[in-house]
């Protein structure tokens, strides 16, 4: 177990270093000089040169990269060109909102997905099963940003029962949560159904029923508990994706989160913010996936962690 932990830790460190190099390369090499682009035609060459020196962009690239990483380790990701606010402060403020949205969407996806999948499995071959699976296919195929707009139209304009922008009150959170969680709920429903059908064939389920155990107990204590592993596997891998999927949801609902900050900074060509947010989201993604991998052995002690890799 320890050797696996060490191996996965070094894999995660390698991935984060590679991501930082790629992000630095994309932000600083290909678009040309960030200072000239920021100043556009408003400054003379001497001023541009002075600002370049102050910001350290006149140094060799490797030196710039090392300086960036040293500052990043101490939490300094530079300052926004647009607002002058430290990037780490911006990220700290916005990430709380994005995290709240992602966690709500995750809970929604798990609850709706598992219950739908159980329902479909128990009604296999009947209309309930077909309905759930067709809806799941549509849920997976529809773009997140389009689902957001449709929900805004239906619940905000037609029925006028829910607010269509913002994230301040529980009522405001409903539509963004459903938007972000729907695709994941659809995947979880399909996996739950498949997993439940496998478990339903097992001898111990027949034994439980023969013993006269109540059907609800058979379903939730015996079937679902044993069907959980593939469900946790798929839902765990989705958790990191929710953070990136939040970009679309925040853009449509006008939520002031990390995703929207990333998109706005792209249009403002605010290099430090783009670099900081891209790096931060990628690091969180790597860490979340690492934690999910390590949790497999906790869920099923029969799994050796070396098998998970």
């Amino acid at each position: 177990m320890l050797s696996y932990l060490i191996k996965r830790f070094f894999q995660a460190v390698f991935a984060i270093l590679a991501i930082s190099v790629i992000t630095f390369f994309l932000m600083n090499v290909i678009p040309g000089d960030p200072v000239s682009l920021m100043m556009e035609k408003r400054a003379d060459p001497e001023t541009i040169e002075r600002i370049r020196h102050e910001m350290g962009t006149d140094l060799p690239l490797t030196t710039q990269y090392i300086n960036m990483m040293k500052k990043a380790f101490s939490g300094d990701l530079g300052k926004s060109f647009f607002s002058g606010i430290p990037v780490s402060q911006l990220i700290g403020q916005k990430f709380q909102t994005t995290l709240k949205l992602a966690l709500l969407a995750y809970l929604f996806a798990l609850t709706v997905g598992i219950l739908s999948g159980v329902f479909a499995a128990l009604n296999r071959g009947k209309i309930g099963d077909s309905t759930v699976m067709i809806m799941a296919m549509f849920g997976i195929s529809a773009p997140v940003f389009w689902i957001a707009l449709i929900l805004q139209i239906v619940f905000g304009l037609v029925f006028k029962c829910l607010p269509i922008s913002g994230f301040s009150t529980p009522a405001h959170m409903i539509l963004p949560m459903v938007t972000l969680g729907l695709a994941n709920a659809s995947s979880i429903a399909r996996i739950t159904r498949t997993s439940m059908l496998e478990v339903m064939k097992q001898d111990y389920i027949r034994t439980a029923r023969a013993k006269g155990v109540y059907e609800k107990r058979v379903v939730f204590k015996h079937m679902l508990k044993n069907a959980l592993l593939p469900i946790i596997t798929i839902s765990g891998t989705q958790l990191g994706g929710l953070l990136t999927g939040a970009i679309m949801t925040e853009t449509v609902f006008g939520i002031s989160g990390l995703g929207r900050l990333t998109v706005e900074s792209i249009f403002r060509r605010d290099f430090p913010v783009i670099q900081g947010t891209v790096l931060f989201i990628a690091v969180v993604y790597v860490v979340v996936n690492l934690l999910v991998d390590l949790s497999y052995a906790l869920v099923d002690p029969r799994i050796s962690l070396s098998e998970v890799d």
């Binding site: 894999q11 390698f14 991935a15 984060i16 590679a18 991501i19 790629i22 992000t23 994309l26 932000m27 090499v29 290909i30 678009p31 296919m137 549509f138 997976i140 195929s141 529809a142 773009p143 997140v144 940003f145 389009w146 707009l149 449709i150 805004q152 139209i153 304009l157 990191g240 994706g241 953070l243 990136t244 999927g245 970009i247 679309m248 853009t251 449509v252 990333t262 998109v263 792209i266 249009f267 783009i274 891209v278 989201i281 990628a282 993604y285 790597v286 996936n289």
Partner: protein, 286 residues
């Protein structure tokens, strides 16, 4: 020398199994309809997709404009039909490039192993470590907006999954006796890969392509929705939804039709891909 390649009857039997899958056949028909729309767009579209009519701004669906009009008075149905060209061509092109890179690198990694395998697999690890949309956004930021850059950005990201899957297949196939026999009689590695290994990976490649195209279409639509993909006045489904956001109160139906198109084509490819996977290797169904 007998070449142990899947026989023509294998593909005939697989197509027979596919025909029995009604959902997959429906998906195939829908895809065929979209392809026909793309090819014959100038003949089918009722209006010029770029023609602006100021008297018809943000009109709801009517006999004159079955899908309504946009903020510049352009016919939405015509723009949807022309948008099919962008979505399908981007989807096919990205998948073609991703497949070329992925199959080549997957074969090298799986067949030669050693340092090549390590390098290629570490490259795929890096790509998988990066959230794909964020990676695409970062690349688009560096390259600038536009469809050509979308193509490069998504192709850079998309090959990694293919490479891993093909590598797995090659690791299995290269251990088979007929491959050892080929090496024993002095056949060159390149010939073995081209004539024996890749043909035996064909069912996997077909399924990967069919399931990769909808991902590419969805990614292009997402980038266009963020304003990074197709630029005005180009008619892309994603950019139409991006524009429709601003007019959701005046013309709610503006955003509905492009989303239905994206959903239908992605759904059709996914259903067809599932059907092909079951038809080409029924053991995978379990």
């Amino acid at each position: 020398m007998h070449i142990n390649r899947r026989s023509k009857s294998y593909y005939k039997e697989s197509f027979g199994r596919l025909k029995e899958n009604k959902a997959a056949m429906l998906g195939l028909v829908i895809i065929a309809v979209f392809i026909l729309l793309a090819v014959f767009a100038p003949l089918i579209a009722p209006y010029d997709p770029y023609q602006q009519t100021w008297e018809d701004i943000l009109k709801n669906p009517s006999m004159k404009h079955p899908a309504g009009t946009d903020e510049l008075g352009r016919d939405i149905l015509s723009r949807l039909i022309y948008g099919t060209r962008i979505s399908l061509s981007i989807g096919f092109m990205i998948e073609a490039l991703a497949m070329t890179i992925g199959v080549t690198l997957g074969c090298i990694a799986g067949y030669y192993g050693g340092i090549w395998d390590s390098i290629i697999m570490r490259m795929t690890d890096i790509i998988f470590a990066f959230p794909s949309l964020i990676f695409a956004i970062a690349i688009m930021f560096a390259l600038g907006p536009g469809l050509i850059n979308v193509f490069f950005a998504l192709a850079v990201i998309s090959w990694a999954g293919t490479a891993r899957l093909i590598r797995g297949q090659v690791l299995h196939i290269k251990k088979l006796e007929y491959i050892e026999a080929c090496r024993a009689i002095g056949e060159k590695d390149f010939d073995i890969i081209i004539r024996h290994i890749i043909p035996n990976c064909l069912p996997t490649i077909i399924v990967i392509i069919t399931l990769g195209i909808p991902d590419a279409i969805m990614s292009e639509a997402s980038l266009s929705f963020l304003g990074l993909g197709a630029q005005p006045p180009m008619a892309s489904w994603g950019s139409m939804i991006y524009n429709a956001r601003t007019y959701i109160m005046q013309a709610p139906t503006y955003s509905i039709f492009p989303g239905i198109c994206i959903m239908l084509i992605v759904l059709s490819f996914n259903i067809l891909g599932d059907g092909l996977r079951d038809a080409l290797d029924p053991r995978l169904k379990d």
